[in-house]
């Protein structure tokens, strides 16, 4: 692996973790379980476009494991990991189709992250009661996905233009 690439991956892992930490400081968004802004997705979307799927996958997994150990718990890790993997898979498929731009990719990533988390929660808690939150989670995923997508598009454009 090229040294420059290794350095970029390292920087993106730490950036994603700082963004996760920042997000954990906003408890308001936790009023409904599973809702998140998904700030760390800026780093993941950027990695997906700039470094490719494998690098994005690595960054995403390392980010989830490390931030769960530092700021969360082992239980929260299982939810986040499932959400992050589903989200990345959906984003990679959409990006690969070549039909959509960064904002749509990010929205699909945000929504599928929320839905992936709630699916794991349903499995662990052995209940369908929390499915009640699905509409709210879809809408919050769309809103945050649009914002994150626009930010990512700007970042990708600036850095690729250098």
């Amino acid at each position: 692996m090229e040294t420059r690439r290794i350095a970029q991956i390292g920087v993106l892992v730490s950036l994603a973790m700082v963004l996760s930490y920042l997000e954990s400081l906003f408890p308001v968004f936790l009023a409904v379980p599973g809702i998140r802004i998904g700030l760390a997705n800026i780093a993941i979307v950027f990695a997906l476009y700039h470094l490719g799927f494998r690098a994005a996958l690595g960054i995403s997994v390392v980010r989830v494991v490390l931030s769960a150990l530092l700021f969360g718990s082992v239980i929260s890790m299982s939810y986040s990991l499932c959400g992050a993997l589903i989200s990345l898979a959906m984003m990679a498929i959409l990006k690969r189709s070549g039909l959509f731009g960064t904002v749509a990719v990010s929205v699909v990533g945000g929504v599928s992250h929320n839905l992936g988390q709630i699916a794991v929660a349903c499995l662990i808690l052995q209940t369908k009661a929390i499915a009640y939150y699905i509409p709210v989670l879809i809408l919050s995923g769309v809103v945050s996905g649009v914002v994150i997508g626009i930010v990512s598009a700007v970042v990708i454009a600036r850095l690729e233009g250098e």
């Binding site: 408890p27 936790l30 009023a31 409904v32 379980p33 476009y49 718990s73 239980i75 929260s76 939810y79 070549g98 039909l99 959509f100 731009g101 960064t102 904002v103 749509a104 929205v107 699909v108 929504v111 929660a121 662990i124 808690l125 052995q126 209940t127 369908k128 009661a129 929390i130 499915a131 009640y132 699905i134 509409p135 709210v136 879809i138 809408l139 995923g141 769309v142 996905g145 649009v146 598009a153 700007v154 990708i156 454009a157 850095l159 690729e160 233009g161």
Partner: protein, 125 residues
């Protein structure tokens, strides 16, 4: 923008896809709203098993799950007023009163769900 596929067609497809997802969300929200009726009682589940049930028309404070969470019922609404977990997400979720609404405490695997006598079978699939 350099380096980003931002041609017109991509932008249109993006908007269509995003609006479609948002529409699905709104439809589900509307569907949920129509189905919900004022609840008559709350059911407490721990680890997938129903452990207790309390009517919403009787005010009271109940200790749940051997003390991990405290349930408060007041004016036909229920909330978790105290919990032993560090992030207290279940307390932040606030009051619930409509059929199908629930409060989830992930660390203790505890769920409080509102059921309504007439429509509850409809709701909890």
């Amino acid at each position: 923008m350099k380096g980003v596929k931002s041609d017109r067609n991509t932008a249109i497809r993006d908007i269509v896809l995003i609006l479609a997802i948002a529409l699905v969300g709104l439809c589900l929200l509307f569907f949920n709203g129509r189905k919900t009726t004022p609840g008559s009682s709350v059911v407490v589940e721990v680890d997938g098993k129903t452990v207790a049930s309390y009517p919403l028309d009787t005010d009271g404070v109940f200790v749940l799950n051997g003390g991990t969470n405290t349930l408060e019922i007041k004016d036909g609404k229920a909330r978790i007023s105290d919990a032993d977990c560090p992030n207290m997400q279940c307390v932040r979720q606030g009051w619930i009163s409509r059929g199908g609404q629930s409060i989830v405490c992930l660390p203790n695997k505890l769920i409080v769900t509102v059921t309504s006598s007439d429509r509850s079978v409809d709701y909890i699939l």
